[in-house]
Amino acid sequence: MSIKISNAPYNERVQEGVKNDFMRKAVASAQGRFRSGRQKQADELGNWEDWRTLGEEIRTHTLRNIDYYLEILSENVSKRGGNVFFAKTAEEANEYIQHIIKKKNAKKVVKSKSMVTEEIGLNDALAEVGAEVVESDLGEWILQLDEDLPSHIVTPALHKNKEQVRETFAVKKGYEQSDKPEELASFARQQLRQEFLAADVGITGCNFAVAESGAVTFVTNEGNARMVTTIPDTQISVMGMERIVPTWEELDILVSLLTRAAVGQKLTSYITSITGTRLEGESDGPEEYHLVIVDNGRSKILGTEFQSALHCIRCAACINVCPVYRHVGGHAYGSIYPGPIGAVITPLLDGYEDHKELPYASSLCGACTEVCPVKIPLHEQLIRHRQIIVERENKGNKMEKLAMKGFAKWASSPAAYKLSAAAARPALQPWSKNEMIKSGPGPLKGWTINRDFPAPAKQTFRSWYKNRQKGREV
């Protein structure tokens, strides 16, 4: 797999998502639960806005000095016995990892969930050199057995129901028990335990690397990343180059923002920071460690107006509030990164050509921007994408071009930008009837044929939130 997950035309993918009733309900209910969890944690803190400000400041400083911090990180990992490989492209990263696999003559690789390894298509590269790859995150394992694709970046098998999971386990692994989630999970535990013990190499992603001491941190609930970093003798961590913090103190802030925004937990069950190889006398952990730092298009975003998209900590909060994602589901985006952040970052990483509809997969209601724990102006960036697409391809019709002029104005000044969520509403008015959009221009049409698409709410999230704070029912 690579960042692009489907060759089907965008409209077809949207149709498929909209037609899949279970998926739509699952997404809606998951969104509800994620949102109330996040909201509860934010309310409990009281000063959530300060936390977001701090998160934004940390990310801004770090990305502005990314070369400095990556250098320090690599020095420190190396001092602790780890090898560091800087990979400009997905191919370079994959070749390096293939080389290790061959050198170790590794037959079995266990992985813990990692978006960046999906992005570079690592599993295919491993298969090429004859290694069996086992995904050990429960959701990823289910998808792997079923040869299916992730639809959400935190709970990748969100679109599957438990009967489907039981069926998959039965067909692929001879499972004979019920579809009770506990029984399914306990079966997975037994099966995967054997895989961990038999694995030659463990591969993880990286949530945040701590530059000052070379610690690579994983944020998980299931404990699979701990197994992957405890048992195999060779371990490889693959990190997107922007997943770095200056010191342990900033790790605290970003982990706290991530777990709260992603799953509404104060901390997840396991936050694990590993530094280099195991030390003398230790029985657990790898004797050989590799950190692969991946660019794969990210550096192109540096120094552009989209730089803040690299601040993303992959919490999925923007996905969980997005009315478009709710309607069409994760697969419709045709990218391993769905939702608002997917719509922003996919064209940046993989080019506009295959993904030019994505910036339109948004109602510009601004809910994503409001929830983002590091304050990425997501919908402003979507507007910029649209502008660029129209300018570059000059394909937009007259009306669209006119609209773009308006968007440009909103996007150019911060004060106007604050109004842009509200302004998006009148822009969609002509197509909405009784609060539901019956038919829309261009790509919007794809999802308005079968289902009524909810028009952006009359209130912006910000004003809704303000009213809510005042205790008014809305």
């Binding site: 639960r33 400041e57 800087f86 013990l197 605290d252 396991y270 694990t272 920071s273």
Partner: protein, 234 residues
Amino acid sequence: MAIQNRDSFLDSLAANLGRPRRTQGIERPKWSVSPQFEVLNQASKDELIDVLKKQCEVIHTDFKRTDRTDLVKVLRETIEGYNGKVIVASSDSRNEEYGLDNFYKSAAEDFDVHLWDETMWKENQVFAERADVGITFSDITLAESGTVTLFNNKYNGRSISLMPRTYIAIIPKHTIVPRMTQATRQLHEAHISGNAVSSCVSFVTGPSNSADIEMNLIVGVHGPVEVTYIVVDD
């Protein structure tokens, strides 16, 4: 160890940022806000213990509180409650201080006890894998989130809190702090004063769990299925 392709990689980042490469002299700015230090900053140790106790309900963890005299009794009850026959524990210097080494010796009649032993190499893991109960001390305990922080080393293997079916954390009262902020500050300061960080720092918050099947919470996936915290008054 080897660092490959670094210069060309970092040079091109600097070029994209439109400035020469930065290799030194970068200081963290003073952040404009610091909400993390406000959390529970007025709370006494006893109040923090109350916070921890409440948080244990949220994280599906049993909470017990005792003193040094009764620790062994409470520990034994907890092990029996888990129907524990095979036990793996860290060979921590605190075992002696808290009277656990005698317990582990005398308990050998009732249980199969293994204390982590660096000379036994991978056999430690094999033992942890079939153990019913893993037991370690907490190095820093975070009240807000209900988290025990473990500095894993050759006496305290990563597997002890991970592979057995159940896990018991012994929490000396003085290890309790408001939140992760105090733990990461300690790690930062240790680093500044030249102490190398553990090869693995584990922040463990209750049993392992997953919401991957229809968003239902399943407690107990790859790590322990049940967890007890025993707070010991100093």
